[in-house]
Amino acid sequence: AQSVAQPEDQVNVAEGNPLTVKCTYSVSGNPYLFWYVQYPNRGLQFLLKYITGDNLVKGSYGFEAEFNKSQTSFHLKKPSALVSDSALYFCADYNDYKLSFGAGTTVTVRA
């Protein structure tokens, strides 16, 4: 069974509006959660990770994510989206030396 799930295939927002990309997990024990972004024709790039400590994690390009144990979620957020944030976003869980990825969410930010 998939350990992380991304319930939305697509997210559309206007530039300047807040952006949220959802991820839920179903990992027993302590989850180790990651967000990656894939721009067109480019490899995946690491955004941020949660291992332990503060529930609010800050990452690259102004993104942050909040680990919520009670809701088993790790949603990615950005207060003010840019057109250049349009990309494919993946949530992933680290277990047994490898990453298990969600199906991905395509984000489109319109000008």
């Binding site: 180790y32 990656y36 024709n41 480019r42 490899g43 995946l44 790039q45 690491f46 990770k49 291992i51 993946f90 992933a92 680290y94 047994d96 030396y97 490898k98 990453l99 298990s100 990825f101 969600g102 199906a103 991905g104």
Partner: protein, 115 residues
């Protein structure tokens, strides 16, 4: 410095042919991973190497898939007797180690199309 490189960037082959995909990791990275990304789906783990050994081959979908890594550097993923369902983007990643504290750096991928 140079990132992870993969070749070829695109490969079109006929059903039943064998293909080899190459990955050059970042220098000094001991861990190397192969993933597959099929259209509209997330990334599937295939195999990882720590040095030249492959402790986990659990993701290889069939015995037509194999991978090797020599000299602790370059890795080759071989698919024998390709099938149309093998069409996907094959991504390689490398990291300093297999610890969760070691970020995986991804290459641009090889897009394989099996006709």
């Amino acid at each position: 410095g140079a990132g992870v490189s993969q070749s070829p960037s695109n490969k079109v082959t006929e059903k039943g042919k064998d293909v080899e995909l190459r990955c050059d990791p970042i220098s000094g990275h001991t861990a190397l991973y192969w993933y597959r990304q099929r259209l509209g789906q997330g990334l599937e783990f295939l195999i990882y190497f720590q040095g030249n050994s492959a402790p986990d081959k659990s993701g290889l979908p069939s015995d037509r898939f194999s991978a090797e890594r020599t000299g602790g550097s370059v890795s080759t993923l071989t698919i024998q007797r390709t099938q149309q369902e093998d069409s996907a983007v094959y991504l390689c990643a490398s990291s300093l180690g297999t610890s969760l504290y070691n970020e995986q750096f991804f290459g641009p991928g090889t897009r394989l199309t099996v006709l």
